[in-house]
Symmetry: C2
Amino acid sequence: MAKPDKKRGTSQKRECILEAALRAFARNGFYNTRVSDIASEAGVADGTIYLYFKNKDDLLISLFEDQMEWIIDRLRHELAAVDGGVLNQLRSFIHLHFRLAVERPDLAEFITVELRQSAKFVKEYENPKFADYLKMLYSLIERGQEEGVLRTDLDRRLVTRAIFGALDEVLLQLALLPDAPDDVSDEAYQIAEMIIDGLRVRSSESLSPTG
Amino acid sequence: MAKPDKKRGTSQKRECILEAALRAFARNGFYNTRVSDIASEAGVADGTIYLYFKNKDDLLISLFEDQMEWIIDRLRHELAAVDGGVLNQLRSFIHLHFRLAVERPDLAEFITVELRQSAKFVKEYENPKFADYLKMLYSLIERGQEEGVLRTDLDRRLVTRAIFGALDEVLLQLALLPDAPDDVSDEAYQIAEMIIDGLRVRSSESLSPTG
């Protein structure tokens, strides 16, 4: 979504700086990248960066928010098209997470490696977009519990975090491969199986929850 | 294990510097901590640090190796005392991981937050102690598969990573709480349930694996 208070040209320059930052961070790491490196990558003067961003931490956070918005839009769009109920949506969620390593290796590395290197980011930033991402996962688990397909004896918030951690760690491994993988469907299938079987109501119990 | 080529006094000073570094990193973060901060925390001259460590990255890696050795020894010791087979050992592994947040909150924060802030650490360091830690988890899964209690259709290496990711993310949340938690047994119980049910041979299949 474009910021309503910004003109189109301004918004394009901002995007261009963010894309340059993503490439620079992926290549040299967050801490080894200077604002001037991003400026030269973007083909703008150093001072131009500061018209849009307060500092490198602010750039990192803005980049994250923009990219998460892209990821969330894509998830919403693709999950809405999934047939077969909440378990299939959960499977799709996991497949889409891992497919970042195939489709957007720079973004996969940024999310799993570089982002963690800003202490400000990990410890201080409230991170509303990441909260939205977690909320999508949480809502799937909540719906599965309400529909009686997922067990209700596990805390949803805790389970959401654990699943995110599992997905993030496997994506990190995929992102650190020397070459971006062509296909991650086997990894996604296996992790989805493990997670869903861990959450599913056992077959002997599957008729018990009452609506 | 003490280094054989070092005298006892030398080894004690090294330990003292590492403990000071752990406190300083936990308080101010890896990137905001200078070598001189660690020196003053340890009560030694700046130059003394460089007798033992090449630089701050080297200090971080040494600290990690020492602490992981402590964690691994403790795991080995406690797992050896567990009755009831591999599933109970897996449960104990998970409980012990989370109990770091209660017993060693500084170490829990170091492992889950500060460590990730060294790009060198995440991307370049081979990390033999962490490999040992993963190998313990891997061996439990391998044994469970061989004994016919865990499903064999999942890749052990992949599953090991996913479980580590889940545990690490939940520990991160526990480590970021304003006060160290008194008790994490409920979190550990729930995550262990979810993971073990995700890996367990279904009851209808539990007699099928042949030895």
